[in-house]
Symmetry: C3
Subunit: 214 residues, 3 copies
């Protein structure tokens, strides 16, 4: 298996897992079959598609290559038919989801650097590639995107993307940096899940008269 | 009237009816005049605009040609002023809406094939052209898009787009295929309305202890 | 300071204030730090980014130039840390917000005319540049965008953009027209705030049996 085939396989695995998460949300919201498939595709591909639109790289591979479509819809169909089974595999899914996040963050940042964006923008597009699918998934079912208020998720993607972008200014091999970035993102995400790490929330001084939560 | 004028007229008619549906939602949600016009434009044009962005066909005709803008805002103004009249014409509107869906599905798939997308992607973009406007309309008023959970709507668009895309691999005239695809989409949609056809919903095994609906 | 530096400074000031409004919404919705920063960036830049995508001007400056990113995230951080202070400055913010709206409407319409759009489309893109950020901000927290149902906001942007576009057909200097358009937009917006001007809402004849509000 060549290097580019290996990356494609990883990319499709990430798409597949993200699509599973979209389909599960669709099933839980009692959407019909078509709705579940739309959420699968959105969750699996919206991050990469938005990145590509911003870069002017049209049509995005998620549309123009049939691999992504088939993988996304396959995940959606699977979940539609066997949602209880998929739901019982939540722990496995959250591990593969962390791997998908790592991969999307790294590949998104790399693609942005290849398009000669500045490093800050490349990091942002790496994060967007990782979280965009989940955001659209939640907006479509009229929920505030999970990534905006719960869990240490985006920060893991940020760290992974930053390592990749930083490596362009250091005497490092791209492959080494991609691997390091991906592993860092995956590790942060997994530890965050295990220890329930959260980002700080803003002070709410107007709630002072409520009973203190501690 | 030449063939291309005929298509433009049909396309504008579809835009007009979709814009009516957007304006009605805006009126029912008690938006102000501007809000109603935004929903008209979004419902009438978001599907085609998203397709064009994904294809890299910028600026989209819905923006660069004044026809679409005038037709959409006209529908919005009409509904704003005479919403009771428009509301009483629901049945007529649902018929023209089915025609609009047929037309958008066929024209969207055709445009995608002209941009050399693969057949699967072309069918998806046909469906997106047909349903994208209604989806943005619903998201903007903070509702889960109707097309994701109720009614056989997207499947009609899918069938129409599939016929058009399939015809590229058969010794068929494009005009014949477009017509066949359009008629098929329209027919499925109308029958679905009459018989209240629905797509299957996922099993909800956790609701077992609730009284069975049958 | 050269003219283009002056415009950049104004543009960044507008972005900063819009980003403040996004961050405040995020704080009030109890998002975490990352969520607040996403809302800052979205509110400050989504209008301009959408305009640029529609024009095919990719990558949008809001992504490719680090100025906008830094200014948006700075506003978000500030608000996250000192949200009570920012909240007490609401009046000052609403004044700078009106200035930002004026600036975005004028610059958006100008950019659209430079891309040879028709006048109607250029006015629309001017308005979109002014209101798009606030709309995405509200959609992301699952609210109907404020601009669609409350306050005379979009009309101010419309007036400003229309003056700029109109000047292309008159023997006027662009600078004069930009200034006139900006001042008109700012003035309408400020008077609307002071006098609580609203756009008309649709008649709701079905509510007849409710007590009349007058």
């Amino acid at each position: 298996m060549s290097a580019s085939t290996f990356v494609l396989v990883l990319d499709l695995l990430g798409t597949f897992v993200f699509a599973l998460s979209g389909a599960l949300v669709g099933v839980n919201k009692k959407l019909d079959l078509f709705g579940v498939l739309v959420l699968s595709f959105a969750a699996g591909n919206a991050g990469g598609i938005t990145r590509d639109l911003l870069l002017g790289a049209t049509p995005p591979p998620a549309i123009s290559s049939w691999h992504y479509v088939v993988v996304s819809l396959g995940a959606g169909l699977l979940t539609f038919v066997w949602s209880p089974v998929v739901q019982r595999m939540q722990e496995l899914i959250s591990i593969i989801d962390a791997a998908g996040l790592a991969l999307f963050a790294v590949s998104g940042a790399t693609k942005a650097m290849d398009f000669h964006l500045n490093p800050l923008a490349a990091i942002m597009l790496g994060v967007l590639t990782g979280i965009g699918g989940g955001m659209l998934r939640d907006v479509l079912v009229s929920e505030v995107p999970t990534v905006l208020h719960a869990d240490l998720y985006a920060v893991a993607a940020l760290a992974g993307a930053a390592v990749v972008v930083g490596s362009y200014y250091l005497p490092l091999f791209t492959t080494t940096a991609s691997l390091a970035g991906g592993v860092l993102c995956f590790a942060i995400r997994m530890i965050a899940i295990r220890r329930d790490w959260q980002l700080p929330k803003p002070h709410q001084p107007r709630d002072k008269n409520q009973p203190s939560p501690s």
